[in-house]
Symmetry: C2
Subunit: 217 residues, 2 copies
DNA sequence: GTCTATAACTTGATAGAC
DNA sequence: GTCTATCAAGTTATAGAC
């Protein structure tokens, strides 16, 4: 039998992902989790801390693994400089495991992350900080893999890449809809391959020479 | 003096963008707009219809312009087949105008769009349908610009591109934060140039040969 | 650790005077 | 078209029994 605490986390994760944080009341959560209202406040003190717990349960081990995978692939690479695709794969492999395994949250968790990321404020309050150390390590690996890019240019491309990744991992309902059912949720491995193809090409794009006075048509 | 109706729309747009739809109560909106509570229900019937009105006010003219720009660039292109960058630019030019002009909603409106897009359910209920006709026209233009891609592959790449675009137009707070202030909100034209560079390279990426049994590392 | 009961407040929406 | 007054329901959170 799963503990009360876990049942609350599971229900909250699903409902925050499906309906958003503020649209999900603690009462809806407890009714789904079949627990008592006071149990939530006993275990998590407040709704906001509950959200934080929901995310950290998954994000802490995944980020730990991301660091280890980067270490491993730097150790294996010639000169300690792995290629762009390898770096992207090290970062995304834990996400892929999460998506594949419902016990790790599955797509539900990725949808929640996507949602929070779009909200900005909540993201920073809850988990933003837990991703900053990652950024350091991965940032410097990327700089060595793409030495022709200025620091600024690199940041912009990482920014775009985060957008594409979020979209890819969020789930495919929108895509299924607008592709008329042609694109269906196939093997997540395949999605990852496509994503890495897209992102690595984008990050290697020739540096644009920007017109001095703004777009000349 | 701006009409009551417009004042409500302006306040609602800003607050929905900043705090999300369900975290924004009608009462917070009326206090910002300095109007009466009943005025909202008089003009818009319900909170949900208010959201719809907020979006359609901007989206209808912008989408109209997107169609006209595509017509124009197809008429000008040799064989009626404009290149990838031209198509992307036609689609994004109206977004750029919105971002540049606070009177058209500015970044605020784009932030709202990004948020709704991440929410999925609300998106489809409110505006999803208004983008479908666009998809048809732009989809076929893209197919002609990238004939080497299968229909399915193309849809996936459009999906990723939407993610990158959403991220780019949402505003640069996150980017500023994690770049340590190096990337600041410069000329939106420049952002657009970078985005188009990234996305067009991603869409032209070589088609990956996927391993038959899943990732072989 | 789990429960009931309840406090204290906010929510979207409407009726009806002007 | 604009207002006040009010409804019925739902909100987070806590006190205190077991």
């Amino acid at each position: 039998m799963i503990s009360t605490r876990e049942r609350i986390l599971d229900a909250a994760e699903k409902m925050f992902a499906d309906q958003g944080y503020s649209a999900t009341s603690v009462r809806k959560i407890i009714s789904k989790a079949r627990v008592n209202l006071a149990a939530v406040h006993y275990h998590f003190h407040s709704k906001e801390e509950l959200l934080e717990a929901v995310i950290l349960r998954r994000a802490i081990p995944a980020n730990q693994e991301r660091l280890e995978l980067l270490d491993a692939c730097e150790a294996a690479a010639p000169g300690g400089n792995p290629g762009l695709e390898e770096i992207l794969r090290a970062f995304l492999a834990p996400s892929l495991r999460v998506v594949r395994d419902p016990a790790l949250g599955g797509v539900v968790f990725m949808r929640l992350i996507a949602r929070l990321q779009a909200e900005g404020d909540l993201w920073q309050k809850t988990v933003g900080g837990h991703f900053l150390p990652l950024l350091d390590r991965y940032g410097s690996a990327l700089r060595r893999a793409l030495p022709e890019l200025s620091q600024e240019e690199l940041f912009w491309r990482v920014h775009f890449a985060i957008g594409a990744t979020t979209q890819a991992l969020r789930g495919t309902e929108t895509l299924e809809l607008f592709s008329g059912g042609l694109c269906r949720p196939t093997d997540p491995n395949l999605i990852l391959d496509r994503l890495i193809g897209f992102v690595s090409a984008g990050m290697r794009a020739p540096v644009a020479v920007h017109s001095l006075s703004g777009g000349t048509k």
